[in-house]
Amino acid sequence: MPSTSRIPFFLLLTLLLGACSGQQTKLTDPERDPWEPYNRKIHAFNMGFDRAIFRPVAKGYDYVMPDAPQRGVRNFFRNLAFPVTLLNSLLQGKMADAFTSTGRFMMNSTIGLLGFFDVATKVGIEEVNEDFGQTLAVWGWKDSRYLVMPVFGPYTVRDFVGRGFYGYFHPVSYAVREHNNYVPLVIDLVTLRAELLPFQADIDAAADPYTLVRDVYLQNREYNIYDGDPPAPDYDALLEEY
């Protein structure tokens, strides 16, 4: 079902973007964010949505739930991402990572009581972060345009495509698709939002929250694609403009 509904959605998106392109606004990053006028609109909508619904719920959860169980719940959901991590480690030919993530999953699911305790990190087995967007990047789709999705937030086109595959392999999405059970998804999103609450003050205080979110997102993606060792920014280019 989702695959058929996605095609008209992309068409709609293209139309939307076309409608925006007539505007003559100055782009802050023409190369990576040519759709800035459209993105800014969706960003504004998302911020409103967040303020009205998402954040209050997350704040309520953060208020009633002590820190330790909060971390436990996040550990549980991170542990559940294992099928996605494993598959993408394999797709990128990273055998060591495939073994590491399997070891982590087995350890955390058992000794770590279904993943609520991240014992593996405690004993020095570091977390592996792989997903389909990163795989597409490693396979050659290096640069992709920034795209803010309604409700879902920051993406690139590549990472949004990757997110489509993700749904088939992630247990939380599986529950939604096969059992129409939205409970795990809602808990995952609310607890994730609660985890991000400390950054809110920074976002609100920023001179331009839109570019702050974008730049942090894009740099962090780059960082994950290169497994924590991305190339240095092109400082010379920055200076040339000076």
């Binding site: 570091e126 960082y223 920014p233 920055l238 000076y242």
Partner: protein, 206 residues
């Protein structure tokens, strides 16, 4: 401190800053980072209670320890980009001073959460490094057992190696603030933005 003691102290301070400005730092970037973090964290351990009571004291320590190692002007030029075109040297100077003030305060705040110097590791050098750009990679041990990588970008100046960018989990200070600051400088002028940063109206968040 009495007024009598204040004047010699100020003179001494002025003199030492002149001397240190002229001295060439012979150390390589990795040693600079290692020495500095070691010294900062030792000082922190020693005076933790005082610093918690009065964060401005830690800010002073950070300022004296850290600022001489940073090429503030170069950082400022990278952040300003074309918005800095035509800025007079003294405008650039007060802009970079304002930025550094905020940076020092944030760094000092973050530092208070540290417990021991075992929490910072300087990793072996990697990749292409040159006089124009040498990266020192470190990682900070987190409470949950994981690590947060913090990298420093250095270049060689007449006063020795100076840092000009910090990257935390892939997020570069220069790149991130560039898009926050430079459009405002283009729109409102460098003096107004400098004032706003000094007044705390523009927060530099990282």
């Amino acid at each position: 401190m009495t007024k009598k003691a204040l004047i010699p102290a100020l003179l001494l301070l002025l003199w030492s800053s002149v001397v240190s400005a002229n001295r060439v730092d012979e150390r390589d970037p990795a040693t600079i980072i290692e020495d500095t973090t070691k010294h900062l964290l030792a000082t922190l351990e020693e005076h933790r209670a005082e610093f918690s009571d009065d964060p401005t004291r830690l800010q002073d320590v950070v300022r004296t320890d850290l600022l001489p190692l940073i090429d503030l002007n170069y950082s400022a030029r990278l952040i300003l980009g074309k918005a800095g075109r035509g800025a007079r040297p003294e405008q650039l100077e007060s802009f970079s001073q304002a930025m550094s003030g905020v940076l020092v305060n944030r760094y000092a705040d973050g530092l208070l959460n540290f417990r021991s110097d075992e929490q910072v590791q300087v990793l072996p050098m990697k990749g292409k490094n040159s006089e124009k750009l040498t990266r020192v990679r470190t990682r900070i041990k987190l409470e949950n057992g994981g690590y947060a990588p913090v990298d420093y970008a250095f270049h060689k100046t007449e006063q020795g190696w100076k840092a000009f960018d910090v990257t935390v989990e892939g997020i570069s200070y220069v790149i991130t603030f560039r898009n926050q600051i430079s459009p405002r400088v283009l729109a409102e002028g460098i003096d107004k933005v400098t004032e706003d940063i000094q007044a705390g109206n523009i927060k530099l968040n990282d």
